[in-house]
């Protein structure tokens, strides 16, 4: 594990420059994010980790274009992110599938919005339904699926739209442990195959270490980026190995030191 290099490199896919975000809750001003800096290279798998209120979801929503920074700049390929768009796909914790559309039509939603032809849409859907292994459920409605299957649909929906950057907001948080592990494996496999860039928000240290190239630790009050840790552990990673545990201990200490500071 080493701190991220700050050497000059090609244009980053995402460049977060000194970004702050404040909300007003009635009269109370809340600093969700304060002076965050983060550069993400194409093809990287980044995990944002931290206690609730550390601004990790806010940062993700700024990258998605759902929120605008109060100060600073959020750039994609050097251009400001001003609104949500198909190049940045979001996978929500509660899936946010369209309940009135079948699995196939949920996946088709993006390509149809781009004005693809019926034939193209069909091909795209077939490909991504197969990628997430839901061939048997192509014509089922979301409420007929398990949580894990719904999240597969949500992932396929974003991939079908040719997203370069996949933003995931605690996507597996609502799933049981078994399903969660299976989806982690599947996600890594898809990531390796498609060369996507993934930003994955989680509060589970183990999940972050299992998945990420870089684990970005954030801390609350005000939300800020605390440390940026590059993991060089080869994949597939063994959660029971001593190396894995060493990293976990280290990250855990970083996370908890902030809790202690905050409580004091």
């Amino acid at each position: 594990m080493a701190e991220t290099d700050t050497l000059s490199a090609p244009l980053p896919i995402i460049d977060i420059r000194n970004v702050s975000k404040t909300f007003w809750l009635g009269e109370q001003k809340i600093e969700a994010l304060s002076g965050a800096n983060l550069q993400i290279r194409k093809g990287e798998f980044i995990c944002l980790i931290g206690a609730s209120g550390c601004g990790k979801s806010t940062l993700l929503r700024i990258m998605a274009g759902f929120e605008q920074p109060t100060a600073g700049e959020a750039l994609m390929w050097g251009k400001p992110i001003t609104e949500p768009g198909p190049s940045r796909g979001m996978v929500f914790q509660d899936y946010a599938l369209f309940p009135w559309l079948t699995v196939r039509n949920n996946i088709a939603f993006g390509p149809k919005s781009q004005g693809r032809s019926t034939g193209e849409v069909k091909d795209i859907c077939d490909r991504f339904i197969e990628m997430v292994g839901l061939q048997k459920f192509a014509n089922a409605y979301p409420h007929q699926l398990s949580g894990g299957m719904r999240q597969r649909v949500a992932i396929a929906r974003v991939l079908a739209n040719d997203a370069e950057l996949v933003l995931m907001d605690e996507p597996f948080g609502a799933l049981d442990a078994m399903t969660r592990e299976r989806l982690q494996d599947e996600l890594l496999e898809i990531w390796e195959r498609t060369k996507l860039t993934v930003v994955f928000v989680t509060h589970a240290i183990e999940e972050a270490i299992f998945l990420a190239d870089r684990v970005v630790v954030m801390s609350p009050g005000p939300g800020r980026i605390d440390s940026d840790n590059r993991l060089t552990l080869p994949r597939p990673r063994d959660v029971a190995s001593p190396e894995f545990n060493e990293i976990r201990r280290d990250l855990s200490a970083r996370l908890h030191s902030h809790h202690a500071k905050k409580a004091a």
Binding site: L97, A138, H143
Partner: protein, 283 residues
């Protein structure tokens, strides 16, 4: 392609399936549903045959009269074999008024639910008008439209209007904000979201409004037809009372009950088909 029902739910979160004999279950449901009406019929029978009351006819007399009302050939009076005329008159007012109400209330509801300016302009007005019961409109509608079919029609319209309007507004205003975010990150933005997100998401609520509206239309028709129209089930009931023909009153009530029920079932079947995607919408 695999069909939806057979490929449904996932193994790990499968909802409990119904017992293996669906026909037996249906027969049992039907038997249970018949207990209360059966008991009431028995009470009616006993009360009239034992002469507890002489004000209402026996079930047998009523049934006989119903046959005459529908097909004639028993009493052959002014009401024999006129059921279809009255039924058609009432149905045309109910469905005409209902359709007109839907045609006005749906677009208005979509406007009020989606456009803040429309909401601020129109919502207070409708909130003020809403507490006025349909029956309170009766005298005014008689003054405006005279005694007759127009008056009945306008009351049905008013009765069906509010449930459709309010449920449409509710449905359109309460779309899960996440779905807008999901649509916009998939490249569907602005006005395109109206047809692809707002309308389908509001459909269950809109449907509830239509169903309530149609129910109220049947409810109001009797009142509406008491305003001196010559035909219609409401008119039959009122004439029956004036002429002291209680069996006619009861026959009219039964017909309204049955037709209103069937009409509701049809709307519900359409709804269940259109909303088969919705886990909460099964009637």
């Amino acid at each position: 392609m695999v069909d939806v029902t057979s490929s449904a739910p996932a193994a790990d979160e499968a909802p409990p399936r119904k017992a293996s004999l669906p026909h037996l279950g249906k027969a049992r449901d039907f038997a249970l549903a018949m207990i209360v009406p059966g008991l009431l019929l028995l009470l009616w029978y006993v009360a009239t045959t034992q002469r507890w009351t002489r004000l209402i006819p026996t079930p047998g007399e009523t049934a006989e009269y119903m046959v005459d009302f529908a097909f004639g050939g028993i009493y052959d009076d002014a009401f024999s074999a006129t059921l279809h005329i009255h039924l058609l008159a009432s149905m045309s007012r109910v469905y005409g008024g209902f359709l007109l109400a839907a045609m006005v209330a749906l677009p208005l509801g979509l406007l009020i639910g989606r456009i803040p300016l429309a909401r601020k302009t129109l919502d207070p007005f409708f909130q003020l008008m809403r507490p006025i019961p349909v029956t309170a409109w009766l005298p005014l509608s008689m003054i405006l439209f005279g005694l007759g079919a127009k008056s009945a029609f306008s009351l049905v319209f008013l009765g069906a209007f509010y449930p459709i309007l309010l449920n449409t507004i509710f449905g359109v205003k309460n779309v899960d904000p996440k779905l807008f975010e999901a649509a916009s990150m998939l490249g569907c933005r602005g006005n395109a979201q109206f047809f692809r997100v707002v309308l389908p998401a509001a459909l269950p609520s809109i449907f509830t409004g239509l169903r309530l509206g149609l129910g109220l239309a049947w409810f109001v028709i009797v009142v509406g037809e008491m305003t001196g129209v010559p035909q219609g089930l409401g008119a039959v009931i009122m004439d029956g009372r004036t002429l002291s023909r209680t069996e006619l009153v009861i026959c009219g009530m039964i017909v309204i009950g049955i037709v209103g029920y069937l009409s509701d079932r049809i709307v519900m079947m359409i709804g269940n088909h259109l909303l088969r995607w919705s886990p909460t919408h099964h009637g």
